[in-house]
Symmetry: C2
Subunit: 558 residues, 2 copies
């Protein structure tokens, strides 16, 4: 069998978040592999209550660990870097990235007790990282975090461009501009570009994207026109935006205070790695509290309504000695990611109750996206002239739309969702295998499989409540007649007016008195019968069937 080139998304294809992509080259089944990005996504009450982080299941990578040449990180957003500390020990390959990304990656590794010295820092193109059959270059590309990189992945079967997240920004404020001349050059080297694996996030946005630079004047006007305390929130990693906001504050005669650990870390890391220069000096919360309100601007975390972030803390009252008041202003210099609306609206209303004027960026005045819009993506297709377009970083509908657009231009394309291994050796992409592409949950300090049933049980308890039945079987397999019933998350009283637990206990006692020996000897039969009775009584009494846990204590002969 001849060597082949494969593409295998394990995360990020069929969802926005949790990016993890694999490329391989070599004999089928023995390809040498590289991993691109290893990110997280976040749980919510609907789908994963109590879960701290969600990551791609890397079982396939773990099973093929000896084939992995390296992990390449495009940029330092959580959905590209967040799983490194949790999953690296299962993969144990060197991590390759640029400087700022590397500093944040090192932090992720150290937090989880993993070695940070496996991280190798690289310069941008023309520097080349050799990893088995792959020659990889980091190409600066504009995005909403500094030092985002697209990857040139040269293989014996041709050149792949993996865009990472990007937008076409000629004036990104911080970091490198999108440079069409460089990309034109890249597209015309050698045999040109075989495969473009491309960001699809904003494929449904019909207008060309807007530059970070256009926000400076509106934000300055905004801050200048406020009379009391000004608070602004944005994504902690959007260093350019933080700079724009902070400079507006200073120009309006205010001292700037950063609230939120993630934001302070981002700024200091950007300064230490030389990416951020000229950021105004900041003051501490204590200093801010001592100044007149009209002399202060707070820049805070929590633009997505996260309950523990600074904006939510401020919406609940005093935080680090600071408290918002009637006449203060709060600016969301951010867009609400779909699914986070409830949390953001909760905060807006809490500020409204305090008399704080809330300003959002819904009309685009105070926020621009970090992703390429449809016309930008089309421009990239035309600039790079790939023979195959593989849409990534999108939900299914985004991938599909992107693939359709490419196909309509005569480019080969494919919708490859998580777990779909695609052979991209030839002129047309071909699905060659489906890998089980599940998810791993971080729950407290433990990693569990999404299919372990833990989250399913939590959702069921939340929807249906939980009834606990305890019974005792004596030394001679005799059933003691008194069942004890406790409930959690269930109404205390039902239709009959008596406590629900008492009612279930009475019905269970009747059953226990009548049960035969065979039943008494079998935990399984007892459980089944008790569960059925408990659910039946509950249905009659309260109109719903709870989850039931039966605890059977068998007394040992002395």
């Amino acid at each position: 069998m001849s060597d082949r080139l494969i593409y295998l998304p394990l995360g990020g294809a069929g969802e926005i978040g949790m990016n993890a992509y694999v490329y391989g080259y070599g004999r089928p089944g023995a390809e040498r592999l590289i991993v691109v990005d290893l990110g997280v996504t976040f749980g919510d009450m609907d789908g994963a209550p109590g879960i701290d982080l969600i990551m791609a299941d890397v079982a396939w990578l773990e099973a093929n660990r000896d084939r992995i040449e390296g992990i390449f990180i495009t940029h330092a957003h959580e959905d590209h870097i967040g799983a490194l500390g949790h999953l690296w020990s299962r993969i144990k390959a060197p991590i390759h990235c640029r400087r700022f990304t590397g500093a944040l990656a090192a932090h992720k590794m150290e937090e989880q007790g993993q070695p940070a010295d496996v991280i190798q820092i690289h310069e941008a193109r023309p520097a080349v990282v050799q990893a088995g059959p792959f020659a990889v270059q980091f190409v600066p590309i504009s995005h909403s975090i500094p030092e985002s990189a697209a990857l040139i992945i040269d293989t014996p079967a041709g050149r792949i461009i993996h865009t990472g997240d990007f937008k076409l920004d000629g004036t990104p404020i911080v970091g490198e501009a999108f440079d069409p001349v460089v990309w034109h050059q890249i597209a015309n080297e050698g045999n040109g570009i075989k495969v473009l694996t491309c960001d699809s996030t904003n494929i449904f946005s019909p207008l060309p994207g807007r530059s970070e630079a256009i926000l400076a004047n509106p934000i300055l006007d905004f801050v200048t026109s406020q009379k009391n305390l000004v608070v602004a929130t944005t994504f902690a990693s959007n260093i350019a935006r933080l700079k724009t906001l902070a400079e507006a504050g200073v120009a309006a005669g205010r001292k700037v205070c950063l609230l939120g650990r993630a934001m302070r870390r981002m700024v200091s890391t950007a300064q230490e790695t030389g990416i951020l220069k000229g950021f105004p000096g900041t003051i501490s919360p204590e200093e801010a509290a001592d100044l007149p309100r009209e002399k202060v601007m707070l820049i805070v975390t929590g633009s997505q309504g996260e309950r523990r972030a600074a904006s939510a803390q401020l919406s609940r009252g005093r935080y680090l000695g600071l408290q918002l008041k009637e006449g203060d202003s709060f600016l969301f210099s951010s867009r609400t990611i779909p699914g986070n609306e409830r949390g953001v609206i909760r905060i807006m209303n809490a500020f409204s109750e305090m008399g704080v004027d809330v300003f959002d960026a819904d009309d685009g005045t105070y926020h621009v996206s970090g992703h390429a819009n449809r016309p930008d993506i089309e421009a990239v297709h035309e600039l790079l002239k790939p023979r195959i377009v593989i849409p990534m970083h999108g939900e299914h509908m985004h991938l599909r739309e992107h693939a359709t657009i490419a196909a309509n231009k005569g480019l080969a394309s494919i919708i490859a969702t998580n777990g779909t291994m695609v052979d991209i050796t030839g002129e047309l992409p071909v699905v060659v295998e489906r890998i089980e592409a599940s998810r791993i949950y971080l729950d407290g300090s433990v990693l569990i499989g999404a299919m372990d049933g833990v989250v399913r049980d939590r959702i069921r308890m939340a929807l249906n409540g939980h009834a606990i039945v305890s019974i005792i079987v004596d030394e001679d397999d005799g059933l003691l007649p008194d069942a004890l019933v406790e409930t959690m998350g269930l109404p205390e009283r039902g239709r009959a007016g008596v406590p629900l637990a008492d009612h279930i206990e009475a019905e269970l006692s009747e059953f226990l008195e009548r049960a035969d020996n065979a039943t008494a000897q079998s935990d399984k039969r007892l459980e089944e019968a008790i569960r059925k009775i408990t659910r039946q009584v509950s249905m009659e009494e309260i109109g719903k069937k709870p989850e039931v846990t039966v605890v059977i204590s068998r007394l040992a002969a002395e």
Copy 2:
């Protein structure tokens, strides 16, 4: 003390949904009362998992039942009518409304075994309903459901206009147009308008609202240009939209099939009450399945992603013999209400996986709002010239914005959220009392208080999991040393690698063996100690503290 006029929102002021407003006139503390609307809102996993419906707590009304002259319903949306069947028995006053609303209200009452004959049907103004000191007229006003009515409430202290939900639509397709001449007249009768209690839903929408009629051509163009099966969804109660969609289907040479019980009921009720004329004949799902796909248009429920509605059913596969396929089209002729995004996106992606082309109304081509926008609301202020504006039907930020706009025009205004009793006898509104304004949950077949702890416990189990500990105390207050531990919604194994339940059992056995008599005799002490140990071990093992239920069985002396 002289008589006074009061306003008391119990629901709908500080939220969008669950409307319930009270007006009173008479001696302070003995005012005669009318209730305007009695609606519901819906629970979600974040705030009220497992809860079917949420309604205003009517404890205050129940306590003052003998003072209630009547319940007036402005229109038949669930958030104005949905609680009638559940709460009427606590209030027992006659229900006043117009014909179509009354037919749907009767259904709500009958579903819950309540008498429908307490519903009195009234003609629109100039008909007057006398209810104690109140003389009430129903004034037709345009909204996204037929027969919406604003109320003129004449009192000895002056005229109140309660807008209900409304928009300024001169061409609403079905039902009555907004008529500025009539409203000019109403504003100029007698002493003019004292109080305007006014819809605030779209106060943040800066452009004038658009008429239902502008959708006909775009929707016709859309349906005509589709090549296979066309499916459209919208709110079941938006009869005008259903007519526009169905007529487009017929004009495009298709047979129309309505899917979803709520939608079929709405259409038949509208036809029976004479409100809807000329709606095209429809076919059954069986007939639809037998026709060529390009000859069929389905109009379905579930525009908000509701899991049991027709659109969600279709997104999961075959439903009533119908199944969507590659090349079919699905149109959301609706806007996604904030908070419902996840459900809607889930459905869109499921259709995308089937190869169905999904079209949304985000750019306004296929949907218009049923509520007045900011310029429309301002126009109503100017048309009606009220002396006091009370914003309602909005979250706090909507009420605040609306009150600010009114105040800036020199109109008296107030932010009165649920439970705020306002004296509106004089020229300025004055808060005179705060009523406990909680919520009631329908859970299965039982009504429970929002503060009963049931939902709090469900949320905690969902976030933290649940550990159940069962122990036995013998006849002599001796603790049997073997605790049984079961867990639900917790990882099976923790850091130590052994099953978590085993580990907790081992620690508890140690405790049980050492516990003194005083502890053994006290359920409370045992519970506290066991809960503490269980949570500690869990924290060490899995990094989180579960909810703990302790079941103590005390063996009786024989």
